[in-house]
Each structure stands twice: as structure tokens, then as C-alpha cells.
Symmetry: C2
Subunit: 311 residues, 2 copies
Amino acid sequence: MPSSLTVVGSIAFDAVETPAGSRPRLLGGSAVHFALASALFAETRVVGPVGDDFGEAEYAVLRDRGVVTDDIEQVAGGRTFFWSGRYARDVNQRETLQTDLNVFEAFEPKLSAASAAADHLFLANIQPDLQRTVREQCDAARFTAMDSMNLWIDIAHASLVRTIGLVDCLIVNDAEIKQLTDEPNLVRAAREALAMGPSVVVAKQGEYGASMFTADGVFALPAFPTADVVDPTGAGDTFAGGFMGYVAAHATDGPPDDELLRRAMAHGTALASFNVEAFGTERTATVTLDEVTERVDALGRMTTFAPQPVA
Amino acid sequence: MPSSLTVVGSIAFDAVETPAGSRPRLLGGSAVHFALASALFAETRVVGPVGDDFGEAEYAVLRDRGVVTDDIEQVAGGRTFFWSGRYARDVNQRETLQTDLNVFEAFEPKLSAASAAADHLFLANIQPDLQRTVREQCDAARFTAMDSMNLWIDIAHASLVRTIGLVDCLIVNDAEIKQLTDEPNLVRAAREALAMGPSVVVAKQGEYGASMFTADGVFALPAFPTADVVDPTGAGDTFAGGFMGYVAAHATDGPPDDELLRRAMAHGTALASFNVEAFGTERTATVTLDEVTERVDALGRMTTFAPQPVA
């Protein structure tokens, strides 16, 4: 039976201003960015709420990629989560202009039997109590991962730590791992996060790439260098989608081994680089497996050295 | 004939406060940090000024590593360059408390015949006009590199660009490459820096590692992960020293090829990780080639992945 993957998280409309231009209404949200990447590798079901304004065009983007949208909950009379932000000339700097939670405010994840039966699960950034209720509905999951954010570290730390204790893999920004553990050194912070329960901790480092910490040690990859950053929104979710989709697609009976996790990091990194090269989901929605593989191969070449001279 | 390497730059006393403790008087300066790393690989001559307060104990640190100190100019009645700084709990943040240029203020590099005849040259961060006078004295140099800083980009941009046009390799912080070229995207910024003349541009990225840009493309390495950061002062100079020393030691008739430059990046990265694990030059002054090689090998393992599943 092929692997299946469920992602629970936000589905949104985004308005962004970047040095490359502005767009008033883009399909976005962490679960959407994640699913468009993961579905390249493994069947992906999205669980999340939308409003009446979420229409056929938006569903089509997901379905055209093979994403299963049965568990997208359309809330009658509601409006879809809306976020707007402005990126500086250095797109690594951004400010949030507006956040309207809308239907996301009262979201209580309800998983269908099919979504709950997925063997891989990703809990995108939502309130950690909710993440835990989802985790508990997914008994069959063989590999589970989660994201979070500074807000929950601030106001729901104990709940977040409990949730982290229930997943196999934590995928958050490096600054968040440091904040979570109150430890400014990333190596020490990652060790402390591993001690909370996960066997894998991935630190997303934005333009610098990502590092993975496991019992096997450290693995680190730079971001795929791109001269054409149009809109970084969703890059981290796209990375997580590529990572989890690849893990799901190559799952064997046991937990993913170090080699598989490394390749998954590379595929997430490649996907994220496509994501930033166009507004919203435009590029990720259409990128092909061949294009991703080409960047993974290039990433391999640009990170390899022979430690000693070859005779 | 074995390769030789000349470095021109600051020799200093540093006072630092870090979360690990404070030290009122440490041997420091960019040329010192550089030379203690490079001399592991290639004979290194230091050119720079010191005052009466620079004594036998300081010379001994350099000489014990094999650094040639003949061109250290002792200025009678002068005091050695002094810098003091305080690192935050997150040691990636620091503030300068005091800078006394002292003998460095009127420094005019005078190279002995032996220093000028070196086949490898590193111009540490000094005023770009001075860097150029040194560069012009070193006709025999087969591979030359330089550092700089935000101050010179601000107040001596044209002179700096002229100097960059005379070297083979620019080694600066990523933020400095962006500032130099007024281009916030590192890939584009590095291309513009390459267009100024160098065939190699290395972006130092602090805790995130370093990236190298050449006509062959991009090569990137994470920093060697260390849980024990005691004092980051001089890490960038130590990186440059390891890089240039390794290039000098393995020089062939032509310019360094991509494979050699990659290995040099790895050796610089390993050296820098030792530098930060103790105050001042304490660790770099005593680290052995075997210890460095061990970290280079470990760095190779922690950055390698098989792009596709191995059957």
C-alpha cells in the first residue's frame, strides 16, 4: 500500500508586497504550501478550514497537484484566513501588515477516517493543544512531524512541550529552537529539543539553509542559491512538505534512516528554492519532479568536497 | 621550493567579555589570528606594527607556531592596537566597547624582500589604499586575497573597488558583499563582486558557515557545529588563514582549482571552529594538524547525501 500523508494547518489568502511587485490575493497558508510540495511525492490530504470566498479556482490548484481536499472544511458564512505582509528590499526582512484569522479562529480539526489513517502526519503551525488532539486521532501514523512559532513558545510553552513529546520530528526555525529551550547555542538547543522526545530536530535557517540533528549527529545543507527571489512566503512550509513527502514516499518498515532523512532534507531544500522564485504557490504548484531532481543533484555537487587530496 | 605566505594586518591586544568569562588582555588582531591558522600549512610572515608593550611572550606564541615575525615592526614609544568588546548571551551579537588604534593609526606597511617575494598574499582588513600599496609590492604573488569591512565600504568605496580589482580572491562577510554591491541578494551580489576582478569570492556567514562563488559555480559549507563557543573573536580571520594556508601548501603551477578551493574552505571552517572554543588565540595556537583533519573529515560526513536512493 502506498504511503499517505495528512497535513493539518492553515489555508489562507495572502496579500504580499515584495521588491518584485505586489499581489492582493494569493492562495497561501502553511497547509497549502506544504501539500503542494509533499504531493509531488506522496498522496497528501489537507485538513483545514476555509470560508465562502474559497472557490473552485483554489480547489483546482490543489487537486491539479493531486492533493486530496475532502477534509477541507468549508465554513458557511465564514471568510478564509487572511494574511498580508510587506518584504523589504532585503527580502529576509518582512513585516506583517494584517492578520484576520476569520474561520481559523474557531477551527477544531475534524479528521475523516482516511485522514486519520495516514501513516505520515504533519502538524503545521497551529495552537499546540489542537496539534495534540490531531496527533491523538492519528494512531496509525508511523512518522509524525510538527512546526510551531514564537507565539506558542511565548503563551503556551507547557502545552507545546507536551505536543513535541508526541512527535518524531520537530521542524522549526533555528531562532525558535533557541527560544523554546532558552539556549542561544543551536547545538545545545537542538539537543534539548531532542530530549523532549523527537528523534529528529530540523532547524530551518532561511537563506542559510537547514540543519538536522539526530542521534546520528548533525547534517547541514545550505539553501539552494537563487538569484531570483520574488516572494519568500511559505518557503519554510514548502521545505517541510518536500521533506515529509519524500520521507513518506520512501518509507520502509522501520523509522526513516539517516540516509533517507538526508535526501529528504535535500528535496525540501530544492522545493523551497522553487517556492521563492514566484508569488504565492505559482511555482511550487507547477514544478516537476524532474526539475526538483535536477536541483537536488546540483545541491549535491555544490556541497561536496574530498576531505583529502585525491591522488 | 615550498610555498610562502605573507599576511599584512593588525596585531592587537583584545579585552573581551563573553558569557564564558572575561579576559582583560589577549593576543589578537586579524593578522595574528590569520597567521596562527595559516602557519599550520605554509610558512607565514606577518607584517604589522606593535608597540613597546608587545613583548617576548607574544612573539613566542607566533614563533612557536612557526610564524616568521621578522616583519613585525616595533614602534618605539608606541602602544599596540587595542580593541575591547562585549558579547551578548547569544554570542552572535557583540558590541565594541573601545578601539585604540595606537601604532596602527600611522601604519605604513614596509615589506622586507622576503615578505614581498611570497607567492601567496593576504591583505587583512586595513585601509584599501594601504592594501593596494602592499599588493603592488608583491609582484611575485601567484594567489592573492583580501578582507575588508563596512567602514571602508562606507568611506573609501572607490579605493576599495580598485583594490578588489587587483586580487584573486575576496573573503568578506556576506553582509559586506551585499553592502559593497548595494545588492541584497547574495548570489547577485557575489556575481557583481566577481565582476570587479577576483576569480573567487568567499562570503563568510558566521554561525551559518561560508559560501564560495567562482566561474565554476557555488560551493557552500555550514559552520562546524560546536556546543562550546567561548570567544568568537577572530573566527573570520582564522577561517581566512586556514583557507589561504591550505591553498598555499597545495599550490601547483596554475591557479588553485575548484577541488583545492573546496578543501581549503573546509580547512578554514575547521580552524574557525577551534578558534571559537577558547579565548583569543589559545586554541588555534595549539591545535594540531591531526585535530583539524579530523574535523574536516567530520564536516565531509555531515554535509554529504546521496541525491538518489542507493540501490
